[in-house]
């Protein structure tokens, strides 16, 4: 069965941006009949998902093996409610195939606030939310992957398979087993669970003690993160669908490196994507040229967690400049803008620099291991000012471990220094500084995984300090909503007991929780209350002897390393970049930098 777009006309005409739902993108997947149908689902809007490179890599890994792969994004509430009322099931973009007819649906989990949207999409697809309610019936295998999959426990009762780590190969391996087993049989799940990068929640039991704390995991399998060692030869989609309506990153993206050398202690991505793997200048140039030719974009973005650390950056930029058609602009990291601007065209309209010192004082930057100094920011900013930049964006975090009021007030100092650097010469425009402050969220698999998240009162007090200290001309301050950060913190370090809360919240009407105007705080509070779950249990400090809900997953990094890093944080000792010396996180055997290959 396929859904006919012409029959949805009356709905499409009433909703915002109907081209989100019609498919027909240039370069959309063309699927010949296939033994296996995979739907790459993204639990956020079309324009957000279409900008995501990861889902295109996963889809490509299926297509490369002769399977069919199509996309589906979370429809905005207007369209979602309308198709539900009309009895039209959620369908995939290119094939217009109802999601329930696929063999596997894989959801990409980019952040915790998309969890209700996963339930929302299952519901729109007419698929029972809970695994137990699907058992024994013909439904697609429900899989999840992406960064949040490193602690998938809050979703354990809803999903069949969790893909942990790099998705280039293992995701499609599972399809092969599925076909060999003739469907999602018990044998299929047992065989899949043996693969590196696969976790099958049904095959693990969590044991609790009398107080309700986790006291053990019972399973024959030890889920391990999948790591693609050879990024240079890894699958990369050389052509990609061009979104119908403007997407959040409307440009070509190449992935320069995976992983980050720096190891900032709050940053989950800095640990769960270790070790750093690079693509060669030749490969990246080829991929960029192919994307520009096949999409028609006129900008290339060099993605990685820290592109400035790519050792062959100058060579790469030269190569791109020599190979890409004239007029194609490159997006460069702000810290390096000065060193390259004379040589490379950037988008001429770009006048804003972005820095993320994360903490105001050097003391606190040492605690979080954020290796960026005032001097670096100032020297980068000053030379950028000289070539016409007139706006600076600064990102900070509030509520970091050991933070005191002086650390917060030190943010003022950075702003003042930038202002005086700008004022040293006569410039045409006035300087704009925007300071954006988010609330620290302790995440699994970081040295801060045991830390408490600040309480609401404390965050409010800290925000007030900032409002007072940063009340200066030319500086605008924005901060993140506390409740959003708290919800993210609860689910980031959550366990299986959150399943009823999540389901209840969805049933009450929560979805698009990451969108400020959609987040329904009162309904979430109601859901926690009705389920008898205190969110404070999840945001509190965890004991070092506690079994953490994600401890059963082998991410490749020693828990002892995290504990060591936490102690170094308390002593304000910086652990340098992996480029300089190996700090022995546990991945030495797989790490090129540990072997001295940089």
């Amino acid at each position: 069965m396929t859904v006919n777009i012409d029959e949805l006309k009356d709905i499409l005409l009433k909703v915002e941006k109907p081209s989100r739902y019609t498919g027909g993108e240039y370069g959309e997947v063309k699927c010949p009949p296939s033994p296996f149908y995979f739907c790459m689902a993204f639990p956020d809007l079309y324009e957000v998902g279409m900008s995501n490179l990861g889902i295109k890599i996963v889809a490509e890994s299926f297509i490369k093996r002769g399977y069919a792969a199509d996309y589906c994004f979370a429809p905005y509430t207007d369209f979602g409610d309308a198709i539900k009322a009309a009895g039209v099931p959620l369908y995939s973009l290119a094939l217009k195939k109802p999601l329930a007819e696929f063999d596997m649906i894989g959801f990409s989990l980019q952040f915790e606030l998309c969890y209700t949207n996963l339930l929302y999409m299952l519901d729109l697809a007419g698929i029972p939310l809970r695994r137990a309610d699907r058992a024994g019936k013909k439904y697609p295998v429900i899989a999840v992957g992406g960064p949040c999959a490193v602690n998938p426990e809050p979703l354990a009762d809803f999903v069949d398979i969790v893909f942990i780590g790099d998705g280039e190969s293992v995701d499609a391996d599972v399809a092969g087993i599925y076909l060999e087993c003739g469907g999602a049989t018990e044998e299929f799940y047992r065989r899949a669970a043996e693969l590196e990068g696969v976790y099958v929640p049904a095959l693990m039991e969590v044991k609790y003690d009398k107080e309700g704390h986790i006291c053990g995991f019972e399973s024959n399998f030890k889920p391990r993160r999948a790591i693609v060692c050879d990024l240079d030869n890894a699958i990369f989609p050389s052509s990609q669908p061009v979104p119908n309506c403007e997407s959040v990153f409307d440009r070509s993206i190449i992935e320069v490196m995976r992983g980050c050398y720096r190891g900032c202690r709050f940053c989950q991505a800095g640990f769960i994507y270790r070790p750093v793997r690079q693509r060669s200048v030749e490969t990246l140039t080829r991929q960029a040229c192919s994307l520009i030719a096949s999409t028609g974009y006129d900008e290339v973005s060099l993605n990685s967690l820290s592109t400035g650390d790519y050792p062959h950056l100058r060579e790469l930029l030269r190569s791109l400049k020599g190979s890409l058609p004239e007029g194609v602009t490159l997006a460069l990291p702000s810290l390096r803008v000065d060193s390259f601007d004379s040589e490379f065209a950037q988008d001429a309209r770009k006048i804003s620099l972005t820095f993320a010192p994360e903490a105001g004082s050097q003391r606190l930057r040492d605690v979080i291991n954020k290796d960026i100094t005032e001097e670096e920011i100032l020297s980068a900013a000053e030379s950028a000012f000289d070539i016409g930049y007139s706006a600076v964006k600064l990102y900070f975090m509030l509520g970091l471990p050991t933070e005191n009021d002086d650390d917060l007030k030190a943010i003022r100092r950075i702003c003042d220094l930038i202002k005086s650097a700008y004022g040293r010469k006569k410039r045409a425009k006035s300087l704009r500084i925007s300071v954006s402050v988010s609330t620290f969220i302790p995440k699994p698999f970081t040295p801060f995984q045991w830390e408490a998240q600040c309480t609401g009162e404390e965050v409010e007090r800290k925000q007030n300090i900032l409002k007072q200290t940063l009340y200066i001309k030319g500086v605008t301050l924005s901060w993140s909503d506390y409740f959003t950060s708290r919800l993210e913190a609860v689910f980031a370090r959550g366990d299986r007991k959150l399943a009823p809360v999540l389901e209840r919240a969805y049933r009450l009407g929560c979805r698009f929780d990451g969108w400020t105007k959609e987040l329904k705080k009162d309904l979430w509070e109601q859901a926690f209350e009705e389920c008898g779950v205190d969110p404070g249990i999840y945001t509190r400090e965890r004991g070092t002897d506690e079994i953490l809900p994600w401890d059963f997953i082998d991410i490749g990094i020693d828990k002892k390393f995290f504990a060591r890093e936490r102690q170094r944080a308390y002593s304000g000792v910086v652990t340098g970049s992996c480029k300089n010396a190996c700090s022995g996180c546990g991945l030495q055997k797989k790490c090129p930098a540990a072997r001295g290959e940089i």
């Binding site: 006309k9 240039y26 119908n244 030719a293 028609g296 974009y297």
Partner: protein, 198 residues
């Protein structure tokens, strides 16, 4: 300059005008059709399209022009790299910008599903007042040029540009007055004050 006639069908009828412009620009980049840029700080590609079509209305008679030195088969090059619903059906080199946004004065549309009614009687009315999308009362009679029935379909020509009447608005008026439900509204012709390609 190259002037061209193109379609907006197969889902492309839901593209906004700005997104359509972006698609046409990217299609030309993919097809190696060079596009001249306007001067100035915010340089933009010199592609000019006729007036925006209402969302959801298909068309086989859209017009556009592009400042380009491209010397090959424009239609073949464009269509080999364009989305399914946006296809060039006719093209020509022109001396100057035909300015389709200005010179298209009337458009012909067809629609299915409107209950048959006495067309002569309808056209003999001196004034037909409707409430437009902004809630204003407008006399649309001067903007209706022809109405004919061809089998199951109604064929009608309405004003465009300064004298614009949206076909979906016209159809919903007819639905309310005579019954039925307009399906599949398609713009079939754009009528210009001068020639198609000059």
């Amino acid at each position: 300059m190259i002037a061209f006639k193109y379609t907006k069908t197969d889902g492309a009828e839901y593209l906004s005008h700005l997104d359509l412009l972006r698609h046409i620009y990217r299609t030309m980049r993919r097809a190696d059709i060079d596009v001249a840029y306007s001067g100035g700080y915010h340089a933009h590609p010199r592609i000019f399209l006729n007036n925006p079509l209402g969302t959801g209305i298909k068309s086989v008679a859209e017009y556009g022009a592009v400042e380009s030195t491209f010397a090959g088969d424009f239609m073949e090059a464009f269509n080999s790299r364009s989305p399914d619903g946006v296809k060039v059906t006719k093209w020509a080199y022109v001396k100057e910008n035909p300015n389709y946004a200005n010179c298209i004065v009337k458009c012909t549309y067809t629609a299915e599903g409107i209950q048959p009614f006495d067309i002569d009687n309808f056209l003999s009315e001196k004034s037909i007042v409707i409430t437009d999308l902004r809630g204003r009362e407008v006399d649309i009679r001067p903007r209706i040029y022809t109405v004919e029935r061809r089998g199951d379909r109604l064929l009608f020509t309405l004003g465009c540009g300064e004298n614009n009447l949206r076909p979906d608005l016209f159809c919903s008026y007819l639905e309310k007055r005579f019954g039925g439900h307009a399906e599949d509204i398609i713009k079939t012709a754009s009528i210009m004050s001068g020639d198609e390609f000059v």
